[in-house]
């Protein structure tokens, strides 16, 4: 990144922070703060172990040297600005979940899928874990975060948090008991099979798994009795008969349903009790987007390319460095290398990503 671009971004980021209220996490004075200065870009030099007593102090720091990234610790410390982690005096930490679109398996629009995952996560946290206070935050780039603020979870250690992750991801090979989430898996299998029966697709499903002849007929016959779903719910698949193919079929159903009810959270993030997290409503230096705090209801229709924009329509001269295609605020941009006049929001997006430089 050249100096002109940096100066421009510093000015624009500074304007943003001057015009907008900062999001201040509770107990801000007990948190560690960290910044990556725009001046250090493209290197990622993090200035950390900083503590602030008041909002004013924090604001002064941000305005004096506008950062590309602002982070604070999910943990509360007695001495947040101690240089060594062991001297900080850990008090507790919020429970953090990260769903990264780039880590989501399978096909489809990943950012859209990430939203689905975050909604699933929100529901599980509310209904299963009884969480009362949480924040949903757009990461500013390719994902979403949930911060659990309930006091009851603050003291959990890393191992405890990893248990929660396993509950969500169902990644562990030790899922066995009927009491826990396996009950949900079986419930899901019952629904899947019920749908297959109703839509007349059961036979095809069985055939696809190599089950045919008398065995297939017997299974289809078994489904004429409603009681079979009760058995499935209880994990009893004996009515399917025996054999390698049936075994594979059951495993296929279990896997498919486990995937359906699991949430793909990033395990190391949740397991880390001293994590630095992006400040909600601050700017993400690699996109220029606002890491927006969202309500559950806003999530469904949220599109970062129109709802997380910090900058407006004023025209800016830039030199585009590479071919780029994106849609922003309803406008489709198809850019080729060379000079261009773009609205601020698009120009800054490209500059942050290193795809354009300021002026021409």
């Amino acid at each position: 990144m050249d100096d002109m671009t940096k100066l421009y971004l510093q000015r624009k980021f500074s304007e943003y922070y001057a015009e907008n209220d900062l999001f201040i996490p509770r107990n801000m004075e007990k948190r560690e703060w960290a910044f990556v200065a725009i001046s250090s870009l493209p290197d990622f030099v993090m200035q950390r172990h900083m503590g602030f007593e008041s909002t004013m102090e924090l604001r002064a720091q941000i305005l004096s040297n506008p950062p590309a990234h602002i982070y604070y610790s999910s943990a509360l410390y007695n001495n947040p600005n101690a240089e060594k982690m062991e001297d900080k005096g850990w008090i507790g930490a919020e429970l953090i979940f990260d769903i990264d679109a780039d880590h989501i398996s399978g096909r489809g629009n990943k950012l859209q899928r990430a939203k689905k995952e975050i909604m699933k996560l929100y529901d599980i946290l509310e209904n299963r874990f009884g969480v009362e206070k949480m924040e949903i935050v757009f990461s500013g780039s390719r994902g979403y975060h949930i911060h659990v603020l309930d006091e009851g979870f603050m003291k959990l250690g890393s191992a405890e948090r990893r248990e929660i992750v396993e509950f969500l991801t169902l990644s562990d090979y030790r899922i066995t008991g009927f009491d826990g989430r396996l009950e949900e898996v079986y419930g899901c299998i019952a629904e899947v099979l019920r749908k297959a029966v109703r839509s007349g697709k059961l036979e095809e499903l069985l055939r696809r798994h190599g089950i045919g002849g008398k065995q297939k007929a017997r299974i289809i016959e078994a489904f004429s009795d409603e009681g079979v779903f009760y058995r499935i719910r209880n994990g009893d698949f004996a009515f399917l008969g025996k054999g390698k193919r049936v075994e594979n079929f059951v495993n296929f159903l279990i896997k498919a349903c486990a995937r359906k009810i699991s949430v793909e959270v990033d395990a190391p993030v949740t397991g880390d009790i001293k994590r630095l997290i992006r400040l909600p409503n601050s700017l993400h230096g690699k996109t220029g987007f606002v890491a927006k705090l969202l309500s559950y209801d806003e999530l469904e229709s949220f599109d970062p390319f129109s709802d997380a924009l910090a900058f407006g329509e004023e025209e800016v001269k830039v030199m585009v460095k590479r071919k780029e295609k994106f849609k922003m605020n309803g406008e489709v941009y198809e850019l080729l290398p060379g000079n261009a006049k773009l609205p601020e929001c698009a120009a800054i997006f490209l500059m942050c990503r290193g795809a354009a430089i300021y002026g021409h």
Binding site: E160, I175, G180
Partner: protein, 404 residues
């Protein structure tokens, strides 16, 4: 405040203290009876001498792996007087509202303030008998804790495991016992036919229990509470108790060991050390590395991009199995991006040169960071170092056989 009836301090808890002297409120009884630890440690009264001997025997039986004779400790039938009490002279003592109409164990933190004002009427004779037995067990318990606090961590850990289990075996499943434990350990628990325990309390204990039925994913979890049978709840208590018992007693630094303590330790330490003869790990044997460490090491040596968590794992692992900093560095030196100075700094850091000595991550942690490459050879292993140790032990015996 005047009281019309004579006080019977701690009366309702005495039966419980006699059986479960680890309850925090035992400190109240001790203070009441002795005033200070020194008074107890130096007392020559036969009662106190007997209590100390009992404490010594508890530690001795733990270290010798002997069952502690259950009749060696006098027991009182458990009954909770508060359940039938109507006088409630204790009520005003509680500022937390835990003693209003009936005892609210959810608000109580077992500070013991109210129990000191108990004026429930029982005969002086009964009160004295209850108190004597409770006092003996509390004093013996405390003495045993002092002894293990002056020993090494392994002895303390062993004591904690064994004693927590012994106490678990004499726990009953009555409402009163469960409520007392919930208050004492600060657990958010709804005690009904089953026990609904808050998930954060559940996790604190359950994540240290290895078997799969304790994994959260296998438990009934609703609105923040895990439903447990009473038996399971007591298993959770055992686990929390184990943590409590493994800690050093806070007062240790201020106690000057009496000649008696020194005599006891001189007897106990050799027993402890004989039990824990280190398995000699001997020469480094790359064949015995678990699959995860083999993979990381070969990736490093091939110059592949190895994540930070994996670098930390292999380094701490190699140090844990006894390699020196220089040996670890030389293993890494074939990597194409090898930088001696940087590597030395990092290895030394993990080795503890800068304060903390790190332990290699356990299998669970390796798994969550996607560094686990388990195969059949990992069966029954929960820590990479145990894999290595098991393999070394096996190869040693098989080599021995070949010679013969």
């Amino acid at each position: 405040m005047k009281s019309s009836k004579p006080l019977k301090p701690l009366l309702p808890l005495l039966p419980y203290l006699s059986r479960f002297p680890f309850l925090k409120v035992s400190g109240r009884l001790f203070e009441l009876e002795y005033g200070s630890i020194e008074n107890f440690l130096t007392s020559q009264k036969s009662f106190d001498v007997e209590a100390r001997q009992l404490g010594f025997k508890i530690v001795e039986s733990v270290l010798k792996d002997e069952k502690f004779p259950s009749d060696a400790i006098k027991q009182i039938e458990l009954s909770f007087f508060c359940e039938v009490c109507e006088t409630r002279g204790c009520r005003e003592a509680c500022k937390k509202g835990a003693m209003s109409f009936s005892w609210n164990y959810m608000l109580c933190d077992m500070c013991g303030e109210c129990f000191l004002r108990c004026d429930y009427s029982v005969s002086d004779e009964l009160y004295f008998r209850l108190k004597t037995i409770a006092k003996l067990n509390v004093a013996a318990y405390l003495y045993s804790r002092i002894l293990v606090s002056l020993m090494d961590e392994r002895a303390r850990r062993r004591y904690a495991v064994r004693e927590a289990r012994r106490y678990r075996e004499i726990m009953d499943e009555s409402d009163a016992t469960l409520m007392i434990f919930a208050s004492d350990f600060g657990l958010k628990a709804k005690i009904e036919e089953n026990v609904n325990l808050h998930v954060s309390d559940y996790l604190k204990a359950a994540c240290r229990i290895r078997s799969k039925e304790w994994k959260l994913v296998n438990r009934k979890l609703k609105k923040g509470y895990v439903e447990l049978t009473r038996k399971d709840f007591l298993r959770i208590v055992e686990e929390l108790l184990r943590t409590r018992l493994a800690e050093r007693v806070m007062i240790t630094p201020t106690i000057t060991p009496t000649p008696e303590i020194n005599r006891n330790l001189a007897e106990l330490i050799p027993i402890s050390e004989a039990r824990f003869v280190e398995i000699e790990l001997g020469e480094f044997d790359a064949e015995c590395l678990p699959p995860c460490m083999k993979k990381i090491l070969s990736d490093l040596q091939a110059g592949l991009n190895v994540p930070h968590s994996a670098r930390f794992a292999i380094t701490s692992f190699l140090l844990n199995i006894g390699l020196s900093v220089d040996e670890v560095i030389s293993l890494f030196s074939s990597a194409p991006d090898f930088d001696v100075e940087k590597t030395r700094y990092q290895v030394e850091h993990i080795a503890g040169a800068r304060g903390t000595e790190y332990t290699a991550p356990a299998c669970d942690t390796m798994l969550s960071y996607h560094n686990c490459y388990r195969n059949d050879s990992c069966r029954g292993i929960n820590h990479p170092v145990n894999y290595y140790r098991r393999c070394k032990k096996a190869s040693k015996t098989s080599k021995g056989n070949k010679k013969r």
